[in-house]
Symmetry: C2
Subunit: 259 residues, 2 copies
């Protein structure tokens, strides 16, 4: 039995999020169904991030086991031949049998995009939140920067979030502008449920001048969801990259696998 | 009566091209229907370019007449409020009553995009042609450059093209690369039917090494559609910009209108 890591890109518009569901189509359902056909065996797929309905990914990481000796390139081509055009496997790599894409992740990066122009964009409509009023990038960037470090993110946590601790460590958080597109780039060890979208909703309030950038620290300190802004729409969010540290490959000693 | 010029952006995926049609939805149908509702008058819309089914636009230019004194900003907002999200009017400007967006155009720019990677992209699938083999950008750029100038473009003309003369003047033609995206940027006074897509199809053959860049001139000289490559898929093409020269505004003397 071999275990593979695959980097996945998807346009989340048409899916009901990452997780497997009974009455609607989660990305996990699609992948398990197609892999079962390709590998002729029931296949369980684990993902690094449980992206919500409508959220996209350029660098989702998944893992699954394969019996038999089908070469990795054949698995990669085979799965792309079966998947809809809105999902593509970009690369494949054999890992240790214990590889867990979520728990082994060292850090994850997300990007949240606003299209900032009085008129919305037909091209960006599926991949951005339309902000018609001019956004104050410097204020947004200042507020975003104040999230860096280890904090209690209770104010930026969805009601249904089941994480044990609300403490998370943010490594990078900045807002940049590229023509009409304004983008939050945020990297952390892990994130609470809807944390990036609640941060984006709060940054939007700061961008339009409804709040000032200094309020971000008070919102953090208050530890209450009521203090933060609304949850920004899913279509603006992209799971950009999941980074792994020293992960043992099959050739290495399995003893070093788990820390 | 006032005449307005509007710059239009659209995602052409769901439309049967620019032109008005009886049994399917052309962009012209949609615009005339929405403007008739907004202006409460039957409205004819002229466009600078008759983009084919599936072709996109960032800078289509349209013109229409308006009775009454509704302010331009109200017309712009009103039309965007009625149009589907895949079409947006980006700006509005009052012109002379004789303004013809097609005949008055000084030059037009198109861009044709390939997504060049072994695996197709879910994000770019509606706005590019997937080229899985590595493209030779230098060869494509050399071939594209040889189109600059005034030539008989019979080899790059669709069978049904009704233009009187096959002679066209190309002002700029180059191929550039930006990460996985390869793009033809071409500007000319006017284009024959499907000319850019036939050029793109021929450049693709050169990019994958099926033809060499020097052949472009022989294809031009041969003046036969059979010599060029296939017509590249519509989804890679964007009408980028239409440029007008000295166009009289309403305040000027109408005598200078037509050359």
């Amino acid at each position: 039995m071999r275990r593979f890591k695959v980097i996945l890109e998807y346009d989340g518009t048409a899916f009901h999020g990452w997780q497997k569901q009974k009455n609607s189509v989660g990305l996990q359902n699609v992948l398990e169904e197609k892999l079962a056909i390709l590998l002729r065996q029931p296949t369980l797929v684990s993902g690094a991030s449980r992206t919500d309905a409508g959220v996209h990914a350029l660098g989702q990481v998944i893992a699954f086991n394969v019996e038999g000796d089908k070469p990795p390139e054949i698995i990669l081509r085979g799965i792309n031949g079966l998947l809809p055009q809105s999902i593509r496997a970009r690369s494949i790599e054999e890992m240790s049998p214990f590889f867990d894409p979520r728990r082994d992740a060292q850090h994850k990066s997300y990007r949240y995009t606003w299209f900032n122009h009085p008129v919305a964009s037909p091209f960006w409509r599926r991949h951005s939140w339309h902000a018609h009023a001019p956004l104050d990038i410097a204020a947004m960037n200042q507020a975003a920067g104040s999230l860096v470090g280890e904090h209690d993110f209770s104010s930026f946590r969805a009601a249904g979030c089941t994480a044990k601790s609300p403490v998370r460590k943010i490594l990078e958080s900045k807002v940049i502008k590229d023509k009409e597109r304004v983008q939050l780039r945020i990297t952390g060890q892990a994130f609470l449920h809807q944390m990036v979208r609640i941060i984006a909703g709060t940054l939007y309030d700061i961008g339009i001048g409804k709040r000032n950038p200094g309020e971000m620290q008070a919102i953090l300190a208050g530890k209450s969801r009521k203090l933060a802004g609304k949850t920004a729409p899913a279509e603006g969010l992209v799971l950009w990259e999941v980074v792994y540290g020293e992960i043992p490959r099959p050739g290495r000693k399995l003893l070093t696998l788990k820390v």
